[in-house]
Symmetry: C2
Subunit: 108 residues, 2 copies
């Protein structure tokens, strides 16, 4: 694309590790961009653009304070994700054989 990504979808928003990281950082409380930047590998524009995606998905809100912009988590839309997981988790964990195989392979 040439503009900011268009997706306002939570699943999409959460698909990128950098964005998950940002959400995690904001769990401890609101932060200015400079604060987020300390936990973020990448340029300032890249961070700003990822924040743009999260804003579009309504997962964060921005407030201006002096020359800083303070971001805070607005986790409402995550309900769509948690709900999907809740609804289907039962089925998945019911499939114990496959799950067990996975765990053995992964953790020995």
């Amino acid at each position: 694309m040439n503009r900011l990504p268009a997706h306002s979808d939570v699943f999409q928003a959460v698909a990128h590790p950098a964005r998950r990281r940002i959400l995690e950082l904001l769990e401890a409380g609101e932060l200015p961009v400079s604060g987020l930047a300390r936990g973020f590998r990448g340029s300032a524009p890249a961070l700003s653009q990822q924040l743009g995606v999260l804003k579009k998905a309504r997962l964060v809100r921005e407030r201006r304070e002096g020359r800083q912009r303070i971001y805070r988590l607005t986790p409402g839309p995550l309900l769509e994700l948690t709900n999907w997981v809740e609804v289907h988790k039962g089925f998945w964990s019911g499939k114990l054989e496959a799950l067990g195989q996975y765990l053995r392979r992964k953790h020995g």
Copy 2:
């Protein structure tokens, strides 16, 4: 791309509604592609390619039977997703104000 998508990442795999749909269909039990096709809007190659992505993410396994290919759910890798949700849900639901706002806005 020119080849199949490269991501073997669960968050990424689950980001596309068609792929979530496929996982949901397979919750009821294994299915041949023709069975999946009935719950899938899109061409046969598109379906096959989405199945390829899920296979790469190890979320499904394929077995041949006559001229059919039977797919079944192997939900192990979904642990990464459910785990992330579990770990962070506490923080999110702690933010009751924002959550409440979201619910009011969404459901009146």
